[in-house]
Subunit: 504 residues, 2 copies
């Protein structure tokens, strides 16, 4: 941010504090012994306070104004565009930071930390009565926060929270998109389920040694362009992508009886990782080099996992490698490409979101989106959530959850942790991934042949040009339109599903 | 630090920033991919700046004064003693922090970082001519620093640097102690070398699988009381003990042909680790709960490695465990207790400090102490260092280094990294360890029987009472006197050597 040295210094400090926090969180999930948790929580809280102090320095509004005047007089248009994006992003996060009174931040942190902690022990016990007061307390502070943010930003309260994860995304747009999906998916799912009923699918027989699973994962990451000089693969309870652009840490979890889950998780996280490795290759830490938002991030992971890795051409390439790592032959029952492809494209409505296939997944997101909206407006009291959940689940996927709160409304950590407004990003990501793939295919009609040969260079170059290298310089929708030539359009996703599940 | 809420808050912040820095440094040495180094260095520098800002807040002198008045009026004597120690330690580090002008800190950091970096590539190439200007630049800023610190603290310049690692330790005392060692060691070493010449020693034959080495290390750490709920064992290029009291991270490095090096390194680091796990078990972060200094820290590692682990009784206990991990029998040549004890108590003058046995090690330290004193006064120009080194090495251990700078005056990172004043701690630690062991033996005449049965509880309890739990509440010499009933006395170390090497 050359336009103002004071802002540049603050941005640099924030970037470096982010590095420290990201690495400490990775360590907490991957390395830390149990007894270290209290000291770690204290250290992370301190860094959060330091970031907050830095991001809310009283000089910022004046500095922003000075920087904008300097910029107005700048000659170099390209540099000015990047710099304008830097200032916009800096200002956006500054506004997000200072708008909340510090007593609300403190209360909110306390309530959500307690609630998430309680959820970890109450969910396995199916203890809705124990969890309900926590969720009520979280909802209360989140409604307070949403009202303040909505007022300041001239937004609907739900949108004011969605904005934190996906800047620029609005309910009015999501209502349209989700409406289209609601009209398409239920019949589609029913058709596919019926069609797949007659398919012969041979389950793969383990055990699959963890060492072999890890070797397979590392080999695939290498093919997909993961840069091991600037990243690692480790193990944690839940797979995630963390770290910093020059040092991206992804994780997975191995199960000796089922390698596919870990394998697909690694491919998914590799999608996130390449975005992280590509968005700020010089490690400048400039605000406009940050990832655009959760929707775009999820589009990158789903691009690899859903658009590429579950495709038939990918399995043509990957199957021999998989067999080699597990000592199987092409003739071993189940290990041929046809069966593998059937295995990895099963559509099966279930009650658990994280286990859902790409066709049923949006139904899980849409019902959460509707429920959290009703919770935030107050139309749905927390006490009625289990019933409302069960109804939505029956209506959307034909499944009852009843009193199984563990796998019903207590299944996700998001609300327990205060992440209202986060869920839409998952489906936004799936739609963007499909639209990006359609655009890339128009430019590269032979893409499937490349994929079948394990040549992913074209994909990386294209995503880098259109997504990674652009950071936060455009809004999500501008980014999508610049990359694909059209506004967000559900039909690309629907066409992808039809081609994969009805025509293959 | 209940005597002043402002100071308490600063101390807490500093403690938490220390946690973050320690973990990021551990990660850098153990986990980080090469490409992450630039971003990591920047993040660590930022945290150092934040710590410096916190530790030099202008309100501190006033707050210290207020706290001292509050304390003078306090009724509870024990609490007041702890609190006084907290204030003393806070004030000491505050004075150390604010005494240097910030431009000197910046220049010094730049010069030492560059020099250490250069040393890493120049040492393997034996490139003294390339390294010399770096060392000159480091020495120049260190002399500047020493002069300022000396002036402020009323100390000799060398002492002002030693004070940073071992508060309260002075050259006048070291001169006496090192003089005693100089009179004792050369003849002693010659006698032992002569005596060992006729010993039959059977080298152990590998390979020693790394997995077995790690299992052996973990089992030994458990016997020695390492708390795995609050710590880990990993691998790094150089063994070290890092992390924070609730989460102590030690490392080692495995070599398939030689397990003993890694084994002894783990035992050594376990000594450091137990001090870290014991000094602040509640994780209060109070200044008086910090480790006392490098000399006391080294005494804890050498207590385990030298006083305990290389003793015959320990090997009586450990030999069957070692054999079990490597699938050897008592009758396998070399694997009996007698031979193992001979192997781990060889005295052999060599040019490399880190490879030295406990008898020759002090000679390495003393020559460095004398050389760095001459470098700091200016009596020895850097250009003459290789010659002076060679002379000292001949005089002390009868070995020539000549033009082999790599294994001569370029062998250690310390001076390259600006750590003038650090070396004496190593030998101070060895002396303290011997003196502590002598005191413990007076109280526990049957200690060897406990050690022979693998019962280390007595040792842990005693060290906790006299060293770990006392943190920085006393000075090094007060701590030693309180634990052993006498001032620092070289004779305990000499008697230990005589008993082990001449009478066993």
């Amino acid at each position: 941010m050359p336009a103002h040295s004071g802002l540049a210094e603050l941005a640099r400090r924030l970037h470096r504090l982010d590095h420290a926090r990201a690495m400490l969180k990775w360590d907490e999930a991957v390395m830390m012994p149990a007894g270290g948790s209290e000291a770690r929580a204290a250290a992370l809280a301190e860094l959060a306070v330091l970031s907050h102090e830095t991001a809310s320095r009283p000089e910022i509004p004046e500095w922003l104004e000075q920087a904008r005047s300097t910029l107005a007089a700048a000659a170099d248009a390209d540099a000015a565009a990047l710099e304008r994006a830097n200032l916009n992003e800096f200002e956006r996060t500054w506004r997000e930071t200072v708008v909340l009174p510090s007593d609300l931040v403190a209360r909110s942190t306390l309530v959500t930390v307690r609630s998430e902690h309680a959820w970890r022990s109450l969910r396995p016990r199916n203890d809705w009565a124990g969890f309900r007061p926590h969720l009520e307390a979280v909802l209360a502070v989140k409604r307070e926060e949403a009202a303040i943010r909505a007022e300041a930003g001239g937004l609907d309260p739900h949108d004011a929270l969605i904005e934190l994860y996906d800047p620029g995304t609005r309910s009015v747009m999501l209502d349209g998109v989700f409406g289209d999906l609601r009209s398409f998916l239920p019949d589609f799912i029913a058709t596919v389920v019926e069609r797949q009923r007659s398919e012969q699918v041979i389950p793969l027989e383990g055990p699959f040694p963890i060492r072999a699973q890890r070797e397979l994962a590392l080999e695939m990451m290498t093919h997909l362009g993961f840069d091991f000089d600037r990243g690692r693969l480790d193990v944690s309870h839940h797979p995630f992508c963390g770290g910093a652009p020059g040092d991206v840490r992804i994780t997975t979890r191995y199960n000796e009886d089922d390698f596919a889950r870990s394998f697909m998780a690694v491919l998914h996280e590799t999608g996130h990782a390449r975005y992280e490795q590509g968005r700020d290759p010089q490690g400048s830490g400039e605000p406009a080099r940050r990832a655009r938002g959760m929707g775009v991030h999820e589009s990158q992971s789903l691009f690899v996992e859903m658009q590429v890795a579950r495709s038939r051409p990918f399995l043509v390439f990957a199957a021999p490698i998989m067999r080699r790592h597990f000592g199987k032959a092409e003739s071993t029952p189940g290990w041929g490409v046809d069966n593998l492809h059937r295995l990895y494209t099963r559509v099966h409505p279930g009650v658990i979101r994280v286990d859902a296939d790409e066709a049923t997944y949006p139904m899980h997101v849409i019902m959460r989106y509707e429920l959290e909206k009703a919770l935030l407006t107050g139309d749905l009291p927390v006490a009625d959530l289990p019933l409302a959940w069960d109804e939505k689940m029956r209506a959307g996927l034909g499944l009852a959850t009843g009193d199984d709160h563990r796998d019903g409304c207590m299944q996700d950590v998001h609300w327990a942790a205060g992440l209202f407004g986060y869920f839409p990003s998952y489906t936004l990501g799936a739609l963007i991934a499909a639209q990006l793939m359609a655009a890339l295919r128009r430019e590269q009609p032979n893409l499937d042949e490349d994929i079948g040969r394990g040549e992913f260079g074209t994909i990386g170059t294209w995503l880098d040009r259109h997504i990674w290298s652009r950071g936060s310089q455009l809004s999500t929708m501008e980014l999508l339109e610049a990359a694909t030539g059209s506004a967000l359009d559900v039909s690309f996703f629907c066409q992808h599903l039809e081609r994969r599940y009805l025509r293959s």
